[in-house]
């Protein structure tokens, strides 16, 4: 199994509170991703990183920011959490090679915004 951990695994917070989720990898993979997964919407990309300090937006980036100061860590921040950000958040990593890309996923973080 790829060495990916997410913390915290579960979090309950209140509307308007800042929240930071952490993804840590031990695989030295170049690419890291943050997704959210919601019923009826599947996996949606929030932000991704293609190197230290190199990040780009995904399809649902509003209300989220990211930072990557080290290869192994990718942080997702909700500056002011809203109830619509209640979801399961997954981090993934990949090391693109050849024609195909494989993403390895972390165990997920369940976030409830009250």
């Amino acid at each position: 199994d790829a060495g990916i951990t997410q913390s915290p695994r579960h979090k309950v917070t209140e509307t308007g509170t800042p929240v930071t989720l952490r993804c840590h990898q031990t695989e030295n993979h170049r690419y890291m991703y943050w997704y959210r997964q919601d019923p009826g919407h599947g996996l949606r990309l929030i932000h991704y990183s293609y190197g230290v300090k190199d990040t780009d937006k995904g399809e649902v980036s509003d209300g989220y920011s990211v930072s990557r100061s080290k290869t192994e860590d990718f942080l997702l921040t909700l500056e002011s959490a809203t109830s619509s950000q209640t979801s399961v958040y997954f981090c993934a990593i990949s090391d693109l090679g050849g024609r195909a890309e494989t993403q390895y996923f972390g165990p997920g973080t369940r976030l409830l915004v009250l």
């Binding site: 991703y33 599947g42 991704y48 693109l96 195909a100 993403q103 390895y104 996923f105 165990p107 997920g108």
Partner: protein, 113 residues
Amino acid sequence: TQLLEQSPQFLSIQEGENLTVYCNSSSVFSSLQWYRQEPGEGPVLLVTVVTGGEVKKLKRLTFQFGDARKDSSLHITAAQTGDTGLYLCAGTNNAGNNRKLIWGLGTSLAVNP
């Protein structure tokens, strides 16, 4: 916008039955991947297909990539309760930004004892 449509959305069968789930698009993909996700966990890669017409087998699971590289199927023979989960297909397109995967919404499979 490239889309991947998966069908059926839900499937409930008895142990021992065979089933096929589908992943379709109007766009061409350079590769398609199938993942399985169990409750409370992240998706796990099952297989990657890259050549049109390619067939790959993983024990009781058979994966096929369409000749035109627009669709794929997953066939499970003699389903077991351990096959229960969400099956996701995801595609890459070398013509665009292939650092990102395009995801289907998944087929939720329940295999009953």
